[in-house]
C-alpha cells in the first residue's frame, strides 16, 4: 500500500552507462517531482510534472530526461552516467491546492563507479 514507490532502491553502475529509475504513486495526485539529495544531504528539485506536462526543469544536464507516461508515473532516465551523479534521488507527488505538502518515496541510491 506504499503511496509513492520507487525502483530500484539501490543502483550501482559504471561511468558511461545509461540507467533508469521508476516512480509510481497511488494517491491520485496530479503533480510529481524528482529531487536530488547529495552526499551532504542537500535536497534540490530537478523536475516537476503536472498531468504529464513538464512544469519545472531546473538546471540539470541534458543527460537527465524525465518521462511521464501517465499522471501516476514519472520515470527518470540518465544517460552517460558520471561520478557526480552519485546521489539519492527522491520521487514525490502532491495534490492540487498549492499546500506545499509533498509525499516522498523512500529514495533510490545511485552509486557511479
Amino acid at each position: 500500500d506504499t503511496a509513492v514507490s520507487q525502483t530500484p532502491k539501490y543502483l550501482v553502475t559504471q561511468m558511461g552507462n545509461d540507467k533508469s529509475i521508476k516512480c509510481e504513486q497511488n494517491l491520485g495526485h496530479d503533480t510529481m517531482y524528482w529531487y536530488k539529495q547529495d552526499s551532504k544531504k542537500f535536497l534540490k528539485i530537478m523536475f516537476s510534472y503536472n498531468n504529464k506536462e513538464l512544469i519545472i526543469n531546473e538546471t540539470v544536464p541534458n543527460r537527465f530526461s524525465p518521462k511521464s507516461p501517465d499522471k501516476a508515473h514519472l520515470n527518470l532516465h540518465i544517460n552517460s552516467l558520471e561520478l557526480g551523479d552519485s546521489a539519492v534521488y527522491f520521487c514525490a507527488s502532491s495534490g492540487s491546492g498549492g499546500t506545499g505538502e509533498l509525499f516522498f518515496g523512500e529514495g533510490s541510491r545511485l552509486t557511479v563507479l
Binding site: 509513492v4 503533480t31 517531482y33 551532504k40 544531504k41 542537500f42 535536497l43 534540490k44 528539485i45 516537476s48 503536472n50 512544469i55 519545472i56 527522491f90 514525490a92 502532491s94 491546492g97 498549492g98 499546500t99 506545499g100 505538502e101 509533498l102 516522498f104 518515496g105 523512500e106 529514495g107
Partner: protein
C-alpha cells in the same frame, strides 16, 4: 529570492529533555514554511506547515513551530524528546512558481541520548 538557513547542523539532546531546532528564513513576500523529517534510509515526511494562518503551528509527534516575522525565524520545538525523534530535520520554504518548488535548508541532524 526565498531561502532558509538552519543554524545548527547537529543537535544532541537527552531523552525527555526539550528539543529546539533553529531556522531563519529570507523571503520577499509572506512565506509558506515547512518542517520535514527524514528518518535513516527513508523518504521525507511533512511535520508541519505555516501558511499565514496562526503563527504557532502544531504538527505530528508533538512538534510545533512558531513563525516570528520580526525575527524571520521558524524554529521547531518539542517539549520532551523521544528516542524515535532521532532523524534529519529540514526547514523548507516554498519558492516561486509551482507549489512543489520547495527550497530546502541544509538539514539538522537530531541525536537523542538515552
Amino acid at each position: 529570492a526565498q531561502s532558509v538557513t538552519q543554524l545548527d547542523s547537529h543537535v544532541s539532546v537527552s531523552e525527555g529533555t526539550p528539543v529546539l531546532l533553529r531556522c531563519n528564513y529570507s523571503s520577499s513576500y509572506s512565506p509558506s514554511l515547512f518542517w520535514y523529517v527524514q528518518h535513516p534510509n527513508k523518504g521525507l515526511q511533512l511535520l508541519l506547515k505555516y501558511t499565514s494562518a496562526a503563527t504557532l503551528v502544531k504538527g505530528i509527534n508533538g512538534f510545533e513551530a512558531e513563525f516570528k516575522k520580526s525575527e524571520t525565524s521558524f524554529h521547531l520545538t518539542k517539549p520532551s524528546a523521544h528516542m524515535s525523534d532521532a532523524a534529519e530535520y529540514f526547514c523548507v520554504v516554498m519558492g516561486g512558481g509551482s507549489q512543489g518548488n520547495l527550497i530546502f535548508g541544509k538539514g539538522t541532524k537530531l541525536s537523542v541520548k538515552p
